[in-house]
Every structure is written in C-alpha cells, then in structure tokens.
C-alpha cells in the first residue's frame, strides 16, 4: 500500500487505524464457512479497490481475515468477502 507520487514512501498499512488484513487460502476459507455454516454471500463485504487490501493480491470471492485491536477483547478476528 505505498503511494509513489509523494516526497516520501508512505506505508498506509502502518497507520494506527488500519488493522492487519490477510487473504485466506481456499482450505482456510472452507473451514471458516463450515464453522459459521454460511455461504460467502452472507459475510460482510470489502471492495476490491479498498485501500486496506491494496497491498494484497485479491480476486472477487476471496475472504479477507482482519485482526482488529479491540478494547474489549484485546484482539478480535473479523472476516470480509471481496466483491
């Protein structure tokens, strides 16, 4: 997630508001869907062009794992499907 046309390289993923995003492999994805007994359609969405996943290579239908910093649980895991 580096924007080139600037005086310095800015890695936006390091911003304190941005949680860690990662792409799930197909087996991990199947496991998650099985665990929650849902179809990918029922997951919350994330745009393909979203700035948070600009540094990842994603295609439509991929599931993104997001590890949020939560004030109540410490770390909480959230999933979004790319659309």
């Amino acid at each position: 997630m580096v924007i080139n046309d600037m005086a310095k390289d800015v890695d936006l993923a390091k911003h304190y508001l941005v949680p860690k995003h990662s792409v799930l492999s197909d087996t991990e994805k199947a496991k998650i869907l099985e665990h929650y007994r849902i179809t990918p359609k029922e997951l919350p969405k994330i745009a393909k062009k979203d700035a948070g996943i600009a540094h990842l290579e994603v295609k439509e239908g991929d599931v993104i794992k997001i590890v949020r910093n939560s004030p109540t649980a410490g770390k909480s895991v959230f999933y979004r499907v790319v659309n």
Partner: protein
C-alpha cells in the same frame, strides 16, 4: 505464554488469556491450571450475549437515552485562531447519518522527530495551510480607464511562502487563460485578450475569481493551530485533506488523523473507517460526561460498514438494504416504499422483527426464534 493457556487460544479472547497469565501463581500444577482454564471457558460462555438476544434494540436504547441529555451547542477552541468544532448531538447525528460533507472537518497532524520538538512549529503550520492569492497580495484593483486588472504583492508575504511574482503569474495564467499577464517588479498586470472580456462586470467577476487561486500549502486546510500535546507539538487544522497531508515529509503518517470518517475510509480502507467511526462517536459521548458501553457503538459501526462502504442509518443507507418492504416502510416515507414494492411485485417473507410487529405475529427474537417441528409418526398414540 504457558502451553496449557495457549491451547485455549480459540476458545477465549486474548485479553482474558493475558489476565489469567498475569494472575496465576508461579508454581501451579498442570491439573489445577487446566481446571482453571475449563472453569474460565464455562464462565466466559455464560457471560456472552445469548443467541436471539435483540442486541440492536438494546444498543438503540443505550445510545438513545443518554443522547437526550446531550448539548446542542458547538464549542470554541481557545487560541489564536478561533475554531469551531461540532460536538454533542449534532455531531452524533452527523456521523450516524453518514454525511459525506461534515460541518467542521478537522485534522490532528502529528509530526515526525525532530519536527515535533516545537522548533519552527509556526513555519511548519504555515506550510500546511492553504494559501491563496488573497493571502500574499497587498492590493488588487481594476484600472477603469484601461480596463485591466492590477495585482500588487506584499513582499514580506512572498518571501514567507517562498514564491516570486513570476511564479505566481504562471499559476494565474493557468486559471485565467484569456488574459495576458505581464510582470512588473511587485506588480502584475492582467490584460484581457478578447473583446467580450473588456467590460467592468466581467473584470470584476475575474477579480473575485483569481483571489481564490491556489498558491501553496495543502488544498482544503483553512486554518492551522499549533498545540502542545503532552511532550510534543502537533498541528490542529480546520479543513481536512488526509491524503495530501500524509505525503508531507515532516508528517508522522502513522498517527495523523482527521475527523472525517469518509475520508479515512477512502484513504485507509473501510476497516480504518469503522475504527474512526467508533472513536469519533465515543469521543463525543465521553466529552459530554455520559457513559455508554463501547460495544453498542461497535455494533452500530459494524452495521454501517458491513457493505464495504460506510452507510448512514438513513432510508438511503442501511435501511434501504433491508429485505422486507414493511420494515423499510416503517422507517421513513412509507407510501413511497409500499407503492414501489407493489409496482414490481415484491414479496415480504416476514423474516425479521418490525414486519412481524406490524402484523401482530411473534417476532423472531429470543424464544420467538425457535420453532417446533414434529416428525410425523414419531408421536406414540395412546
């Protein structure tokens, strides 16, 4: 971390595990520890919200009630540059409605070391502020006899923003192409090229227009205010332009933020937008001395961000996503929804709460969620 505690990583949240880790005695037997962990899992499960609990309703009440006590005022920033900040109920409404244009956009710009020490802070702040032509001139006038525009610069200001009369002339040329601009020391003379521009009305319009010509700084930053926060200096601004500010060499791009959640969502992604939304709502509630559990706000933020973009709680936002016609109609503009639904033959499957309230049926909440099924033939006859 103890291997036994680690085993429970999937069953308990990180914070609980850390708390156990910190509180167990140094020498504890494996069986005891396992017993503790098992008990914790049971207790944790008991503390969770039960399936079928109407969390949205509880959140609405929990945010709504303290909301009635919020002030309606905006407050002033004390300091050289007076700044207004929307707070209280208007700010909450603004965030939750998902307004794209917020009333008082603001940024908190953190600086990298060594810039954060406060040396040259005024110069840094001046660099960030949007400078237009009107900020660096001494005079702008129309010479009526010759029908030309004359701009006279303020020499000190030119130096302060490190621009020259000719560089400004180039910038001006871009915005008013139909004028010939000649530089004469500290003066610029703008002469119209075409005849139809040679009247006073037109010249006056152009004069007002070129006053706003962008010269230096960051577009959108209307005011700057250096402040000392704890041990470092930061710059608070009125107006916001996160993308361009992050590019600046002396800006700490990891902590700099804005109060415009849409801007954060577009520059840093929905997840960052969600976090910013929670922070902003919570800040207002805290400021007013009220006490709302952050989980309620997190729920609202999650609902608003579920679609991948931030949607406000309005009839064009999250409400428009509801599958039930009756639920949508119950929010706002009922007739429009009912007419549109009937025109396209929409079906309401009555799977949610509001529509069932309307038709006087049990709502799918709590015990209402469970149904009873009988396997034919499995019931014994007496």
């Amino acid at each position: 971390m103890d291997p036994i505690i680690k085993e429970y990583k999937d069953k308990l949240p990180e914070k609980v595990l850390a708390e156990i880790e910190a509180n167990i005695p140094a020498r504890i037997s494996q069986t005891k520890l396992r017993e503790i962990m098992e008990l914790t899992v049971v207790e944790y499960g008991r503390m969770k919200v039960e399936a079928g609990e109407s969390v949205g309703l509880v959140s609405a009440e929990s945010i709504g009630e303290p909301g009635t006590q919020m002030t309606l005022n905006t407050f002033h920033f004390a300091g050289v540059a007076e700044m207004n900040v929307t707070v209280g109920l208007p700010r909450i409404i603004e965030i939750l409605d998902g307004r794209k244009e917020i009333k008082t956009p603001m940024m908190e710009i953190y600086l990298r070391k060594p810039y954060s020490s406060g040396k040259d802070i005024k110069q840094i702040a001046a660099n960030i502020k949007e400078t237009t032509l009107v900020d660096i001139i001494a005079e702008i006038s129309i010479t009526v006899s010759e029908l030309v525009l004359e701009v006279t610069f303020n020499e000190a200001k030119l130096k302060e923003f490190s621009v020259t009369a000719s560089s400004v002339a180039k910038l001006l040329q871009k915005s008013v192409g139909s004028f010939t601009i000649t530089v004469d020391g500290l003066r610029l003379v703008l002469k119209p090229k075409t005849k139809d521009l040679k009247n006073l009305n037109e010249l006056y319009r152009i004069k007002e227009k070129i006053k706003e010509t962008f010269i230096a700084g960051i577009k959108g930053i209307k005011q700057v205010l250096p402040v000392k926060r704890e041990e470092e200096f930061i710059v608070i601004t009125a107006g916001s332009n996160l993308k361009d500010v992050l590019k600046l060499e002396f800006v700490d791009e990891e902590r700099t933020t804005t109060n415009d959640v849409f801007e954060i969502a577009s520059v840093l992604g929905v997840e960052a937008g969600r976090q910013a939304l929670i922070n902003e709502v919570f800040k207002v509630i805290e400021n007013q001395g009220l006490n709302v559990d952050i989980r309620h706000i997190m729920l609202v933020a999650d609902a608003m961000c579920a679609g991948g973009v931030i949607r406000g709680i309005t009839r064009t936002g999250v409400v428009s996503e509801k599958s039930s016609v009756l639920a949508r109609a119950s929010f706002e503009t009922p007739i429009k929804h009912v007419i549109n639904a009937s025109l396209i033959g929409e079906v309401d499957y009555l799977t949610s709460v509001v529509e069932n309230v309307m038709i006087n049926q049990p709502v799918p909440v709590g015990t209402g969620m469970a149904g009873l099924m009988v396997k034919p033939g499995s019931v014994e006859k007496k």
